[in-house]
């Protein structure tokens, strides 16, 4: 089965080396590249198309959508969320097994009627509703290892007993329905974080039996980043292996990795290709 890479070209600095730095990864026969966007160009099956407004309204308040549409960030936010939805649709159609979604704006601070922290639309939530509406899938897990609390995702799924949301962040321990907040104190380092995650996954995910896992992956907890948790760069590949293994056990490997926090261009260049490589490996 195949791995999808969803990409839109950005003006910012963080992803300036992409897609060139992916090197031979795109040459692998099981890796498919979907990108956006080209003006006045005939459509192709590998276009990353923007999701329609009606889909946004399933998750976000129309007045909030209207506010975001008036911002300069709108198109970038729309294509960021659209990548996650497009990946989910192709996985549901069994065209892909897993995917990596490049975003320019994050997901998890976008709630029903609020946005912030560089997040305007909640791509994972939009994908959940798309898969429910079009494919009848019901149960999902969202694993959030961005260094900050996902207040938007938390709000959106607090009353949804068919979405397991596990948020690792420095906030205190909390649980509402199937929303779990698991504290990750600053300076905890790789080993403690990974042990904590492994325990949490074993305790909650198999029993929940999700049909697909979303991983809100941020590298802002890496040493020297703006959410520094004392994690080394090597942490992320270890976490990717853990989550890929988890997806393999509980949902046939169906996994979408959504790029969230993290700012440094050299780290993006170092950390992202091995994760895509791992997704594409058998």
């Amino acid at each position: 089965m195949a791995t999808g890479v969803f990409f839109y070209y950005q003006q910012g600095e963080r992803l300036r080396d992409f897609p060139q730095v992916l090197g031979g990864l795109l040459d692998a026969p099981q890796v498919f590249f979907y990108d956006a966007f080209y003006e006045a160009k005939p459509p192709s099956d590998f276009d990353l198309d923007p999701i329609p407004l009606e889909s946004l309204y399933r998750v976000h308040d129309p007045q909030m959508v209207a506010r975001v549409r008036a911002l300069p960030a709108y198109q970038g936010a729309l294509y960021s969320a659209s990548g996650t939805v497009a990946a989910a649709v192709r996985i549901a159609r069994r065209e892909l097994k897993n995917a990596f979604v490049f975003t320019g704006y994050g997901d998890h601070h976008a709630g029903r009627n609020f946005y912030g922290g560089g997040c305007y639309f909640n791509g994972a939530a939009l994908a959940v509703h798309e898969l429910r509406a079009r494919f009848g899938l019901r149960r999902f897990a969202i694993i959030d290892t961005d260094a900050h609390h996902g207040d938007g995702t938390w709000q959106l799924f607090a009353r949804d007993s068919e979405v397991l949301y596990i948020c690792f962040c420095p906030q205190k321990s909390a649980r509402i329905n199937f929303n779990l907040n698991i504290p990750t104190p600053p300076g905890m380092g790789n080993a403690r974080y990974l042990a904590l995650a492994e325990r949490a996954f074993a305790e909650h995910v198999p029993a929940f039996a999700p049909e697909l896992i979303f991983w809100n992956w941020g590298y802002d907890g890496t040493q020297g980043e703006y959410g520094d948790l004392g994690l080394s760069p090597g942490f992320h590949a270890q976490m990717a292996a853990l989550i890929k293994g988890l997806a393999g056990k509980v949902c046939g490997g169906k996994l979408i990795v959504i790029l969230c926090g993290g700012s440094k261009r050299p780290l993006a260049r170092t950390l992202i290709p091995p994760i895509i490589d791992m997704l594409a490996a058998e």
């Binding site: 950005q10 992916l22 090197g23 590249f33 966007f37 320019g104 704006y105």
Partner: protein
């Protein structure tokens, strides 16, 4: 020189290709150089 990750289109027959390995040459189709499809970068948070 071809560019990895870029799309090229044949203006004769409409064939579109994605460059997955960069090289020295220019991709051709229908005996003509294919046209690079230029993206329009969008805003991001950084």
């Amino acid at each position: 020189m071809s560019q990895l990750g870029k799309r090229y289109r044949c203006e004769e027959c409409g064939t579109e290709i994605l460059c997955t390995k960069a090289g020295e040459g220019e991709p051709q189709c229908c005996a003509k150089d294919m046209v690079l499809q230029e993206p329009r970068p969008l805003p991001s948070s950084d």
